[in-house]
Symmetry: C2
Subunit: 219 residues, 2 copies
Protein backbone atom coordinates (compact mmCIF):
# COMPACT_ATOMS: atom_id res chain seq x y z
CA UNK A 1 0.00 0.00 0.00
CA UNK A 2 1.38 3.43 -0.85
CA UNK A 3 2.25 5.78 2.00
CA UNK A 4 -0.30 8.29 0.72
CA UNK A 5 -3.12 5.77 0.56
CA UNK A 6 -2.29 4.62 4.08
CA UNK A 7 -2.39 8.19 5.33
CA UNK A 8 -5.70 8.89 3.58
CA UNK A 9 -7.32 5.71 4.89
CA UNK A 10 -6.17 6.59 8.42
CA UNK A 11 -7.63 10.03 8.00
CA UNK A 12 -10.92 8.53 6.81
CA UNK A 13 -11.04 6.30 9.88
CA UNK A 14 -10.43 9.28 12.17
CA UNK A 15 -13.17 11.31 10.50
CA UNK A 16 -15.63 8.44 10.74
CA UNK A 17 -14.86 8.01 14.43
CA UNK A 18 -15.40 11.72 15.00
CA UNK A 19 -18.77 11.37 13.27
CA UNK A 20 -19.50 8.31 15.44
CA UNK A 21 -18.80 10.31 18.61
CA UNK A 22 -21.11 13.12 17.48
CA UNK A 23 -23.90 10.62 16.83
CA UNK A 24 -23.32 8.75 20.10
CA UNK A 25 -23.54 12.04 21.97
CA UNK A 26 -26.77 12.97 20.18
CA UNK A 27 -28.33 9.61 21.07
CA UNK A 28 -27.24 9.87 24.71
CA UNK A 29 -28.53 13.41 25.07
CA UNK A 30 -31.85 12.59 23.41
CA UNK A 31 -32.39 9.62 25.70
CA UNK A 32 -31.38 11.44 28.90
CA UNK A 33 -33.69 14.25 27.85
CA UNK A 34 -36.52 11.72 27.52
CA UNK A 35 -35.84 9.71 30.68
CA UNK A 36 -34.87 12.56 33.00
CA UNK A 37 -37.29 15.12 31.49
CA UNK A 38 -34.60 17.62 30.53
CA UNK A 39 -35.83 19.69 27.55
CA UNK A 40 -32.58 21.67 27.32
CA UNK A 41 -30.78 18.51 26.22
CA UNK A 42 -33.38 17.92 23.53
CA UNK A 43 -32.66 21.40 22.23
CA UNK A 44 -28.94 20.68 22.10
CA UNK A 45 -29.62 17.63 19.93
CA UNK A 46 -31.77 19.71 17.59
CA UNK A 47 -29.17 22.42 17.16
CA UNK A 48 -26.35 19.87 16.70
CA UNK A 49 -27.96 17.92 13.85
CA UNK A 50 -26.70 20.23 11.12
CA UNK A 51 -23.07 19.46 12.04
CA UNK A 52 -23.73 15.74 11.72
CA UNK A 53 -25.26 16.31 8.28
CA UNK A 54 -22.26 18.37 7.17
CA UNK A 55 -19.89 15.74 8.43
CA UNK A 56 -21.69 13.05 6.43
CA UNK A 57 -21.33 15.03 3.21
CA UNK A 58 -17.65 15.73 3.92
CA UNK A 59 -16.83 12.07 4.61
CA UNK A 60 -18.60 10.92 1.45
CA UNK A 61 -16.62 13.44 -0.60
CA UNK A 62 -13.44 12.23 1.07
CA UNK A 63 -14.26 8.62 0.15
CA UNK A 64 -14.80 9.59 -3.48
CA UNK A 65 -11.47 11.42 -3.50
CA UNK A 66 -9.63 8.41 -2.08
CA UNK A 67 -11.24 6.15 -4.69
CA UNK A 68 -10.42 8.50 -7.57
CA UNK A 69 -6.90 9.33 -6.43
CA UNK A 70 -5.59 5.95 -5.27
CA UNK A 71 -7.92 3.52 -7.06
CA UNK A 72 -7.58 1.03 -4.21
CA UNK A 73 -8.30 -2.66 -4.79
CA UNK A 74 -9.16 -5.72 -2.69
CA UNK A 75 -9.26 -5.06 1.07
CA UNK A 76 -8.63 -1.32 0.76
CA UNK A 77 -11.45 -0.90 -1.74
CA UNK A 78 -13.84 -2.82 0.47
CA UNK A 79 -12.77 -0.71 3.44
CA UNK A 80 -13.62 2.54 1.66
CA UNK A 81 -17.01 1.14 0.62
CA UNK A 82 -17.70 0.10 4.21
CA UNK A 83 -16.80 3.62 5.39
CA UNK A 84 -19.34 5.00 2.88
CA UNK A 85 -22.04 2.69 4.18
CA UNK A 86 -21.28 3.23 7.86
CA UNK A 87 -21.25 6.99 7.24
CA UNK A 88 -24.77 6.67 5.88
CA UNK A 89 -25.91 4.58 8.84
CA UNK A 90 -24.46 7.09 11.29
CA UNK A 91 -26.24 9.99 9.65
CA UNK A 92 -29.54 8.15 9.90
CA UNK A 93 -28.87 7.32 13.54
CA UNK A 94 -28.35 11.06 14.07
CA UNK A 95 -31.73 11.71 12.41
CA UNK A 96 -33.38 9.20 14.70
CA UNK A 97 -31.78 10.85 17.75
CA UNK A 98 -33.18 14.16 16.51
CA UNK A 99 -36.59 12.61 16.18
CA UNK A 100 -36.42 11.21 19.72
CA UNK A 101 -35.32 14.65 20.96
CA UNK A 102 -38.33 16.31 19.31
CA UNK A 103 -40.68 13.89 21.03
CA UNK A 104 -38.79 14.22 24.31
CA UNK A 105 -39.30 18.00 24.14
CA UNK A 106 -43.05 17.40 23.80
CA UNK A 107 -43.16 14.79 26.58
CA UNK A 108 -41.09 16.98 28.96
CA UNK A 109 -43.74 19.67 28.77
CA UNK A 110 -46.60 17.29 29.67
CA UNK A 111 -47.36 15.09 32.69
CA UNK A 112 -45.12 12.07 32.98
CA UNK A 113 -46.52 8.73 31.83
CA UNK A 114 -44.28 6.88 34.27
CA UNK A 115 -44.10 3.97 31.84
CA UNK A 116 -40.42 3.95 31.16
CA UNK A 117 -39.52 0.78 33.00
CA UNK A 118 -38.28 -1.11 29.95
CA UNK A 119 -36.66 1.96 28.45
CA UNK A 120 -33.71 2.10 30.83
CA UNK A 121 -32.59 -1.39 29.84
CA UNK A 122 -33.24 -0.68 26.16
CA UNK A 123 -31.20 2.53 26.24
CA UNK A 124 -28.34 0.75 27.98
CA UNK A 125 -28.34 -2.02 25.33
CA UNK A 126 -28.58 0.34 22.37
CA UNK A 127 -25.74 2.50 23.69
CA UNK A 128 -23.52 -0.54 24.05
CA UNK A 129 -24.46 -1.68 20.54
CA UNK A 130 -23.52 1.67 19.02
CA UNK A 131 -20.21 1.77 20.86
CA UNK A 132 -19.39 -1.88 20.13
CA UNK A 133 -20.21 -1.60 16.44
CA UNK A 134 -17.82 1.35 16.05
CA UNK A 135 -15.12 -0.33 18.15
CA UNK A 136 -15.53 -3.49 16.07
CA UNK A 137 -15.04 -1.43 12.93
CA UNK A 138 -11.90 0.32 14.18
CA UNK A 139 -10.28 -2.84 15.55
CA UNK A 140 -11.73 -5.20 12.92
CA UNK A 141 -13.01 -7.18 15.90
CA UNK A 142 -15.41 -9.85 14.61
CA UNK A 143 -16.41 -11.36 18.00
CA UNK A 144 -17.43 -7.91 19.19
CA UNK A 145 -19.42 -7.38 15.98
CA UNK A 146 -21.20 -10.70 16.58
CA UNK A 147 -22.13 -9.53 20.08
CA UNK A 148 -23.91 -6.57 18.52
CA UNK A 149 -25.99 -8.93 16.39
CA UNK A 150 -27.04 -10.96 19.41
CA UNK A 151 -27.97 -7.92 21.49
CA UNK A 152 -30.27 -6.72 18.71
CA UNK A 153 -32.67 -9.58 19.44
CA UNK A 154 -33.08 -8.45 23.04
CA UNK A 155 -33.73 -4.88 21.91
CA UNK A 156 -36.44 -6.09 19.51
CA UNK A 157 -38.06 -7.98 22.36
CA UNK A 158 -38.10 -4.97 24.69
CA UNK A 159 -39.56 -2.84 21.90
CA UNK A 160 -42.40 -5.33 21.39
CA UNK A 161 -42.97 -5.38 25.13
CA UNK A 162 -43.09 -1.55 25.24
CA UNK A 163 -45.74 -1.58 22.50
CA UNK A 164 -47.90 -3.99 24.51
CA UNK A 165 -47.59 -2.04 27.72
CA UNK A 166 -48.24 1.33 26.14
CA UNK A 167 -51.34 0.00 24.39
CA UNK A 168 -52.66 -1.24 27.73
CA UNK A 169 -51.98 2.17 29.23
CA UNK A 170 -53.95 3.89 26.44
CA UNK A 171 -56.87 1.51 26.93
CA UNK A 172 -56.93 2.07 30.69
CA UNK A 173 -56.70 5.83 30.33
CA UNK A 174 -57.50 7.42 26.97
CA UNK A 175 -56.09 10.71 28.27
CA UNK A 176 -52.63 9.21 27.84
CA UNK A 177 -53.07 8.43 24.12
CA UNK A 178 -51.12 11.32 22.62
CA UNK A 179 -48.22 10.92 25.03
CA UNK A 180 -48.23 7.14 24.65
CA UNK A 181 -48.08 7.44 20.85
CA UNK A 182 -45.08 9.79 21.19
CA UNK A 183 -43.43 7.30 23.55
CA UNK A 184 -44.15 4.43 21.16
CA UNK A 185 -42.31 6.37 18.46
CA UNK A 186 -39.30 6.87 20.74
CA UNK A 187 -39.18 3.13 21.39
CA UNK A 188 -39.43 2.41 17.70
CA UNK A 189 -36.70 4.94 16.85
CA UNK A 190 -34.42 3.45 19.48
CA UNK A 191 -35.01 0.04 17.98
CA UNK A 192 -34.07 1.43 14.56
CA UNK A 193 -30.86 2.93 15.95
CA UNK A 194 -30.06 -0.61 17.11
CA UNK A 195 -30.78 -1.86 13.58
CA UNK A 196 -28.26 0.60 12.15
CA UNK A 197 -25.65 -0.54 14.70
CA UNK A 198 -26.43 -4.06 13.49
CA UNK A 199 -25.86 -2.97 9.87
CA UNK A 200 -22.44 -1.63 10.86
CA UNK A 201 -21.55 -4.87 12.69
CA UNK A 202 -22.62 -6.92 9.67
CA UNK A 203 -20.44 -4.82 7.40
CA UNK A 204 -17.46 -5.36 9.72
CA UNK A 205 -17.97 -9.14 9.65
CA UNK A 206 -18.29 -9.04 5.88
CA UNK A 207 -15.16 -6.96 5.49
CA UNK A 208 -13.06 -9.22 7.72
CA UNK A 209 -14.48 -12.66 7.00
CA UNK A 210 -16.03 -12.09 3.58
CA UNK A 211 -19.21 -13.63 4.97
CA UNK A 212 -22.55 -12.02 4.18
CA UNK A 213 -24.48 -12.10 7.47
CA UNK A 214 -27.03 -9.54 6.35
CA UNK A 215 -30.46 -11.02 5.92
CA UNK A 216 -29.57 -14.14 7.87
CA UNK A 217 -31.17 -15.23 11.09
CA UNK A 218 -28.79 -15.12 14.03
CA UNK A 219 -28.71 -18.59 15.56
Amino acid sequence: MSKHLLRDLDNLKRELLAMGSMVEEAINKAMISLLDRRPELAKEVMSGDASIDEKEVAIEEECLKVLALHQPVAGDLRYVIVVLKVNNDLERMGDLALNIAERAAYLCSHDSLGAFLGFNRMVELVRSMVRDSLDALVNLDVPRARNVLETDDEVDEINRDMFGRLQDLMKDNPETIKRAVQTLSCSKHLERIADHATNIAEDVIFMVDGEVVRHQQVV
Copy 2:
Protein backbone atom coordinates in the same frame (compact mmCIF):
# COMPACT_ATOMS: atom_id res chain seq x y z
CA MET B 1 -14.66 5.01 -21.57
CA SER B 2 -13.60 1.46 -22.38
CA LYS B 3 -16.11 -0.82 -24.08
CA HIS B 4 -15.96 -3.20 -21.14
CA LEU B 5 -16.64 -0.50 -18.57
CA LEU B 6 -19.58 0.74 -20.64
CA ARG B 7 -20.99 -2.76 -20.82
CA ASP B 8 -20.56 -3.31 -17.07
CA LEU B 9 -22.15 0.04 -16.18
CA ASP B 10 -25.11 -0.77 -18.44
CA ASN B 11 -25.45 -4.11 -16.78
CA LEU B 12 -25.39 -2.45 -13.35
CA LYS B 13 -28.16 -0.10 -14.42
CA ARG B 14 -30.27 -3.01 -15.67
CA GLU B 15 -29.80 -4.92 -12.43
CA LEU B 16 -30.70 -1.89 -10.34
CA LEU B 17 -33.85 -1.34 -12.37
CA ALA B 18 -34.82 -4.98 -11.91
CA MET B 19 -34.35 -4.48 -8.16
CA GLY B 20 -36.43 -1.29 -8.38
CA SER B 21 -39.28 -3.19 -10.07
CA MET B 22 -39.22 -5.88 -7.39
CA VAL B 23 -39.42 -3.24 -4.66
CA GLU B 24 -42.17 -1.27 -6.44
CA GLU B 25 -44.20 -4.45 -6.75
CA ALA B 26 -43.71 -5.24 -3.06
CA ILE B 27 -44.86 -1.76 -2.06
CA ASN B 28 -47.89 -1.92 -4.34
CA LYS B 29 -48.92 -5.36 -3.11
CA ALA B 30 -48.46 -4.37 0.54
CA MET B 31 -50.60 -1.28 0.10
CA ILE B 32 -53.37 -3.02 -1.89
CA SER B 33 -53.37 -5.71 0.77
CA LEU B 34 -53.88 -3.02 3.42
CA LEU B 35 -56.46 -0.92 1.57
CA ASP B 36 -58.48 -3.73 -0.02
CA ARG B 37 -58.09 -6.19 2.88
CA ARG B 38 -56.41 -8.90 0.82
CA PRO B 39 -54.20 -11.00 3.14
CA GLU B 40 -52.99 -13.22 0.28
CA LEU B 41 -51.10 -10.23 -1.17
CA ALA B 42 -49.46 -9.57 2.19
CA LYS B 43 -48.24 -13.17 2.14
CA GLU B 44 -46.75 -12.70 -1.33
CA VAL B 45 -44.78 -9.71 -0.08
CA MET B 46 -43.48 -11.75 2.85
CA SER B 47 -42.35 -14.63 0.69
CA GLY B 48 -40.76 -12.29 -1.88
CA ASP B 49 -38.53 -10.37 0.52
CA ALA B 50 -35.69 -12.89 0.41
CA SER B 51 -35.23 -12.32 -3.35
CA ILE B 52 -34.91 -8.56 -2.78
CA ASP B 53 -32.28 -9.19 -0.12
CA GLU B 54 -30.33 -11.49 -2.43
CA LYS B 55 -30.49 -8.96 -5.22
CA GLU B 56 -29.08 -6.26 -2.94
CA VAL B 57 -26.07 -8.40 -2.05
CA ALA B 58 -25.50 -9.32 -5.71
CA ILE B 59 -25.62 -5.68 -6.88
CA GLU B 60 -23.22 -4.56 -4.17
CA GLU B 61 -20.78 -7.29 -5.19
CA GLU B 62 -21.14 -6.23 -8.81
CA CYS B 63 -20.34 -2.61 -7.89
CA LEU B 64 -17.20 -3.70 -6.05
CA LYS B 65 -16.14 -5.74 -9.08
CA VAL B 66 -16.62 -2.80 -11.43
CA LEU B 67 -14.59 -0.55 -9.12
CA ALA B 68 -11.77 -3.08 -8.76
CA LEU B 69 -11.66 -4.08 -12.41
CA HIS B 70 -12.07 -0.75 -14.19
CA GLN B 71 -11.06 1.76 -11.52
CA PRO B 72 -13.45 4.33 -12.95
CA VAL B 73 -12.93 8.03 -12.21
CA ALA B 74 -14.99 11.24 -12.30
CA GLY B 75 -18.57 10.74 -13.48
CA ASP B 76 -18.30 6.96 -13.80
CA LEU B 77 -16.97 6.61 -10.28
CA ARG B 78 -19.76 8.78 -8.91
CA TYR B 79 -22.29 6.74 -10.85
CA VAL B 80 -21.14 3.47 -9.28
CA ILE B 81 -21.25 5.05 -5.81
CA VAL B 82 -24.78 6.28 -6.48
CA VAL B 83 -25.80 2.76 -7.57
CA LEU B 84 -24.41 1.45 -4.26
CA LYS B 85 -26.43 3.99 -2.30
CA VAL B 86 -29.64 3.55 -4.28
CA ASN B 87 -29.30 -0.22 -3.93
CA ASN B 88 -29.23 0.27 -0.16
CA ASP B 89 -32.26 2.57 -0.25
CA LEU B 90 -34.21 0.08 -2.34
CA GLU B 91 -33.47 -2.77 0.02
CA ARG B 92 -34.76 -0.70 2.94
CA MET B 93 -37.88 0.23 0.99
CA GLY B 94 -38.43 -3.50 0.49
CA ASP B 95 -38.08 -4.01 4.27
CA LEU B 96 -40.65 -1.29 4.88
CA ALA B 97 -43.04 -2.89 2.40
CA LEU B 98 -42.58 -6.17 4.28
CA ASN B 99 -43.36 -4.41 7.53
CA ILE B 100 -46.52 -2.88 6.05
CA ALA B 101 -47.53 -6.32 4.73
CA GLU B 102 -47.15 -7.84 8.21
CA ARG B 103 -49.41 -5.19 9.69
CA ALA B 104 -51.86 -5.51 6.78
CA ALA B 105 -52.11 -9.24 7.50
CA TYR B 106 -53.07 -8.41 11.10
CA LEU B 107 -55.52 -5.68 10.09
CA CYS B 108 -57.17 -7.87 7.41
CA SER B 109 -58.10 -10.39 10.07
CA HIS B 110 -59.78 -7.78 12.31
CA ASP B 111 -62.72 -5.42 11.88
CA SER B 112 -62.01 -2.54 9.54
CA LEU B 113 -61.21 0.83 11.10
CA GLY B 114 -62.58 2.63 8.07
CA ALA B 115 -60.06 5.40 8.64
CA PHE B 116 -58.13 5.17 5.42
CA LEU B 117 -59.34 8.34 3.76
CA GLY B 118 -55.92 10.01 3.61
CA PHE B 119 -54.17 6.76 2.78
CA ASN B 120 -55.38 6.53 -0.81
CA ARG B 121 -53.83 9.88 -1.67
CA MET B 122 -50.67 9.05 0.27
CA VAL B 123 -50.25 5.72 -1.52
CA GLU B 124 -50.74 7.39 -4.88
CA LEU B 125 -48.09 10.02 -4.08
CA VAL B 126 -45.57 7.55 -2.70
CA ARG B 127 -45.96 5.29 -5.71
CA SER B 128 -45.31 8.18 -8.07
CA MET B 129 -42.28 9.22 -6.00
CA VAL B 130 -40.76 5.75 -6.19
CA ARG B 131 -41.33 5.52 -9.93
CA ASP B 132 -40.13 9.06 -10.61
CA SER B 133 -36.97 8.68 -8.53
CA LEU B 134 -35.99 5.57 -10.49
CA ASP B 135 -36.89 7.15 -13.83
CA ALA B 136 -34.88 10.24 -12.87
CA LEU B 137 -31.91 8.00 -12.12
CA VAL B 138 -32.10 6.12 -15.41
CA ASN B 139 -32.61 9.22 -17.54
CA LEU B 140 -30.50 11.56 -15.38
CA ASP B 141 -33.60 13.74 -15.33
CA VAL B 142 -33.06 16.51 -12.76
CA PRO B 143 -36.49 18.22 -13.09
CA ARG B 144 -38.18 14.92 -12.38
CA ALA B 145 -35.90 14.38 -9.37
CA ARG B 146 -36.86 17.82 -8.07
CA ASN B 147 -40.54 16.88 -8.37
CA VAL B 148 -39.89 13.98 -6.03
CA LEU B 149 -38.46 16.38 -3.44
CA GLU B 150 -41.52 18.58 -3.61
CA THR B 151 -43.99 15.72 -3.35
CA ASP B 152 -42.27 14.56 -0.16
CA ASP B 153 -43.61 17.60 1.70
CA GLU B 154 -47.18 16.66 0.87
CA VAL B 155 -46.59 13.08 2.04
CA ASP B 156 -45.22 14.36 5.37
CA GLU B 157 -48.33 16.48 5.79
CA ILE B 158 -50.71 13.59 5.13
CA ASN B 159 -48.75 11.44 7.57
CA ARG B 160 -49.10 14.08 10.30
CA ASP B 161 -52.80 14.34 9.52
CA MET B 162 -53.19 10.54 9.77
CA PHE B 163 -51.56 10.63 13.21
CA GLY B 164 -54.02 13.26 14.41
CA ARG B 165 -57.05 11.45 13.07
CA LEU B 166 -56.02 8.05 14.38
CA GLN B 167 -55.39 9.48 17.83
CA ASP B 168 -58.89 10.97 17.83
CA LEU B 169 -60.28 7.59 16.82
CA MET B 170 -58.47 5.89 19.71
CA LYS B 171 -59.80 8.46 22.17
CA ASP B 172 -63.37 8.07 20.93
CA ASN B 173 -63.19 4.31 21.00
CA PRO B 174 -60.43 2.64 23.02
CA GLU B 175 -61.38 -0.68 21.41
CA THR B 176 -59.66 0.56 18.24
CA ILE B 177 -56.29 1.20 19.94
CA LYS B 178 -54.40 -1.87 18.78
CA ARG B 179 -55.62 -1.55 15.20
CA ALA B 180 -55.01 2.19 15.16
CA VAL B 181 -51.42 1.70 16.38
CA GLN B 182 -50.84 -0.82 13.58
CA THR B 183 -52.31 1.66 11.09
CA LEU B 184 -50.13 4.47 12.46
CA SER B 185 -47.11 2.28 11.78
CA CYS B 186 -48.23 1.69 8.20
CA SER B 187 -48.53 5.44 7.68
CA LYS B 188 -45.11 6.01 9.19
CA HIS B 189 -43.55 3.26 7.04
CA LEU B 190 -45.10 4.72 3.93
CA GLU B 191 -43.67 8.10 4.85
CA ARG B 192 -40.25 6.50 5.23
CA ILE B 193 -40.53 4.84 1.82
CA ALA B 194 -41.10 8.37 0.48
CA ASP B 195 -37.97 9.50 2.35
CA HIS B 196 -35.92 6.82 0.60
CA ALA B 197 -37.31 7.90 -2.79
CA THR B 198 -36.23 11.41 -1.79
CA ASN B 199 -32.72 10.13 -1.00
CA ILE B 200 -32.54 8.61 -4.48
CA ALA B 201 -33.73 11.85 -6.11
CA GLU B 202 -31.14 13.84 -4.14
CA ASP B 203 -28.40 11.50 -5.28
CA VAL B 204 -29.50 11.95 -8.90
CA ILE B 205 -29.36 15.75 -8.57
CA PHE B 206 -25.97 15.50 -6.96
CA MET B 207 -24.63 13.22 -9.64
CA VAL B 208 -25.83 15.42 -12.49
CA ASP B 209 -25.43 18.91 -11.06
CA GLY B 210 -22.82 18.27 -8.38
CA GLU B 211 -25.13 20.08 -5.96
CA VAL B 212 -25.67 18.66 -2.48
CA VAL B 213 -29.39 19.02 -1.83
CA ARG B 214 -29.43 16.59 1.07
CA HIS B 215 -30.11 18.27 4.38
CA GLN B 216 -31.41 21.42 2.71
CA GLN B 217 -34.91 22.76 3.02
CA VAL B 218 -36.87 22.62 -0.22
CA VAL B 219 -38.06 26.14 -0.98
